[in-house]
Amino acid sequence: MKVSKEVRDIAEEILRQGQVGGVLGLSSEHGHVGPHLFSSTDDLGTLVLEPRYMLAKVCRMILADFPGERLGVVARGCDERALIEMAKLGQVDLSRLDLIGVACSEAQARECACPHPYPRRIDVGEPVQGVAFADTECAQQASEQDLVARQAFWTHAFSRCIKCYGCRNVCPVCICAECSLEDASWVARGKISPEISFHLIRAFHVADKCVGCGACDAACPVDIPLTRLYAQMREKMKEMFGYEIGLDVTNKSPLTTTLEEAPLHGL
């Protein structure tokens, strides 16, 4: 594919310059595609771009284990937003990363209901219009269904939960060393499905960080549409605080600032 070829060429150039320890991307081997660190130009033939994996989380782990080195990474809009959120939390040093920015196609943007389907600097691909919140299933549900119907929908969705913790495990911004969802005072041990509070705790914890990458949806074995829930939280953050997640590393979350630092006007 043309786009993969362009990414390969850029990765090759970055590797040849010798300033990075490797380029993180996706590799297709044995008929399967997974994350791969390309450390020499010889392996680049296997580099592909799909299916999409959230690479930001892998990126954070590699940077932490190799503190002196720089890393190249093939990054879509959501990867970059996740990296920016991690940087805000002191988990990633953006200056040690060389991003190869890939713009998503229109179909991909629609599939993820993505508001920003491209990174700040696009190296490969053409930017397409993001999906506005008003055009998402989430917004349609909110306008078409009353509270009782929506509650029934979510109660049914959450009742399917098998508490695999996949949503938390794949989440690039779930970075706490100790997770409330494993704390018996918040979540009863051995109870499946968990109380609705399990999902609400997670929704609140990612309210000011969720970049809408859709990794949780994709990892859920019982098809709970979690991104639909988090999209509403994200929209509220925008409405209430004018805060947009993942776009500007200097723009700190209003939930981690004090009222003195950032007064709430009109509330």
């Binding site: 595609v33 997974g34 994350p35 284990d65 695999c164 990892a219 859920c220």
Partner: protein, 135 residues
């Protein structure tokens, strides 16, 4: 910079979900569900997500143990396997092949289970073969 992902199959049950095990700087990390796997399609249950944890667990047995009158004793694989062979042959000779049963496991591969039933039937002469997934 050393980061590798190894494509493998979840060891926990017979479903055989696909996962990558990441190895970062020689250390095993949390599995990454393989999105291209035809069965699991990028999803895992909590057992799959925890499949790496026992590898470095302090509770993990790293040597075979033999049960003696005074409790378990550590031994070598050679001695443990010699003991198993000697006792199985003794039991077969004294009580007949059907005094033995062979349990196979969902945590093994199809091929390993095949070999185990072959051992039971062709070597020891019994059809007593069962499986932990017969719940």
């Amino acid at each position: 910079m050393d980061y590798r992902t190894v494509l493998t199959t979840c060891p926990y049950c017979g479903s055989g979900c696909g996962m990558y095990l990441p190895v970062l700087n020689g250390k095993l990390g949390e599995p990454i569900p393989a999105k291209t796997h035809p069965l699991s399609q990028g999803r895992l249950c909590i057992k799959g997500w925890s499949a790496h944890e026992h590898v470095a667990s302090h509770d993990r047995l790293t040597k075979p143990l033999v049960k003696t009158g005074s409790g378990f004793k550590e031994t070598t694989w050679d001695e443990a396997l010699d003991l198993v062979v000697t006792r199985l042959l003794e039991l077969r000779d004294r009580h007949g092949p059907d005094s033995l049963a062979f349990l196979v496991s969902a945590k093994c591969t199809n091929e390993e289970n095949y070999l185990q039933q072959k051992l039971a039937r062709a070597v020891f002469g019994t059809n007593n073969v069962d499986h932990c997934a017969r719940l």
